[in-house]
Symmetry: C2
Subunit: 265 residues, 2 copies
DNA sequence: TCTGTAATATTTGTAATACCAATCTAGCAC
DNA sequence: GTGCTAGATTGGTATTACAAATATTACAGA
């Protein structure tokens, strides 16, 4: 049909750079990813810094804007870049955070149970608590203590209580002094927090207030162990606490709708 | 110069969109992501199953193929889908694996040290070893034992030895019986394995052979503790082993080229 | 009938273009 | 100075047209 207009390949490539007729120049988007990856790993592009505009990258790398965007979007999906419409594309900054979505999907696809999720949290947070007992700074301890205080103050408000509960565990992860551990704990925590769980906590059952007081007390004991620099005790208290939390859930139910295994194509 | 009186921007943005914890997804691509997410989370699409062709999704969702591809590529970058040129787009299958690249970038961007990476590995793998001591099946134990055997058999071949070392730790993570723990251990392990490390191991220093024999022996003791269902001992042996490995590295050097903090735009 | 192979169809990958939408910037009015 | 507006900059989406990899079908030959 439109055989006529197919002279399109004449100008866009920079003069002289003729596409090798042999090699298939695999993955244009990959070239973009490698280009940006090198900029970052070689330190020529730091956190928060802005990348060249897409149209400039088109000229620099020698691929179409379609491919430039494909590469940038892939890096953005991995949390390495963030893109602001009308403003620019930037290297991720702020506290190191790992996206929890891949883990959530794995949970749904493989039918991870809440019990497994709790077990993983236990393994991680016990380690974090142990590190916190050794490395926590004064302000870390203050942050942890504050959350315990607020927990006691909100035993009659399950939703508020849950917020401080989450922040308590976050504060411990941060107090570990190890950003990698903190990021991973954060990732797992986010992945295990489902909307239903929040909803469940809102349902104030008769025993709730007493339960929350008990929970707050366990948190208090974890804090004391960390404050006293007693690593084994911190690990034990954290383990006991998470085991107790687990018992309050029907932990063997899968995280989401069960996924039937599908036939391979 | 576009006429302002036209139909531009009648709808005041979508209301009440709670999701998208990650910045970078855009309106049209987001619709694709939500569409596929629902297919998966509701169990209508299982591991390994093929998605409709892009052009079909265009019709079903009502966005352009550009946006369909943007959404699919974002999910592929997160490891949720995989795309095969000429064949189709599929839901990820196989063993649950978390991409290690985001962690590598965090390491480069924030200047994580090897010491921190080792510490994180220690926290994780000590937990995994403890779980393995409680949950390991017969075939898990066999797999671990095999790797120890191969390690002893390759003390004169550092590169082969390293391969079995990696597989040993992988086998322990698998033996934990907890796929979440296994995935995370795997992610951190991959992120901490740099090309330079491999290269270093190849350089057979005079003391290498003796060192490797000592290392193999430590692995053997870990295996024995797990085989004997002795959780505390397994945790202790694993911790000692990783501490010893750490001492052999100049652990305070950053993982990659240091990244200078950049001015915010 | 079975098998290997070539033609054909299907499906993802890239390019080019045009325009929309959000943001930033500079200049002007007050 | 403040506030506003017009333009410039930059990312977002749509469309069209092919290219490239893979899957399927049809057919010739044993």
């Amino acid at each position: 049909m439109q055989q006529m207009g197919r002279d399109r390949n004449l100008e866009p490539r920079r003069a002289g750079v003729v596409v090798s007729p042999i090699v298939g120049e695999t993955a244009a988007a990959d070239r973009v990813i490698q280009y940006v990856r090198r900029l970052i790993l070689e330190g020529r592009l730091g956190p928060g810094q802005r990348l060249p505009p897409e149209r400039t990258l088109v000229a620099d790398i020698g691929v179409s804007r379609t491919s430039v965007r494909a590469g940038l979007q892939a890096l953005a999906a991995k949390g390495i870049l963030f893109i602001r419409h009308g403003s620019g594309t930037f290297v991720a900054d702020g506290p190191p955070v790992l996206d929890s979505e891949p883990l959530r999907f794995l949970a749904a696809l493989h039918g991870f149970t809440r019990r497994e999720m709790f077990e993983a949290r236990r393994a991680l947070e016990v380690g974090a608590a142990g590190l916190a007992a050794e490395h926590a700074k004064g302000q870390d301890l203050a942050a942890i203590s504050d959350e315990v205080t607020e927990m006691f103050a909100s035993v009659d408000d399950p939703q508020t209580f849950l917020g401080h509960d989450v922040r308590f565990h976050h504060a411990i992860a941060a107090a570990s002094g190890n950003p990698i551990v903190a990021s991973i704990v954060e990732m797992v925590t986010r992945a295990s927090l489902s909307r239903e769980l929040r909803w469940k906590m809102q349902q104030a059952s008769p025993a709730t207030q007493h339960d929350l007081r008990v929970a707050a007390d366990m948190h208090r004991r974890i804090y004391h162990a960390i404050r006293d620099r007693d690593r084994p005790r911190a690990e034990r208290e954290m383990s006991d606490h998470l085991l107790a939390s687990e018992r309050e859930q029907d932990a063997d139910r899968p995280m989401d709708a069960a996924v039937a295994p599908a036939p391979r194509p």
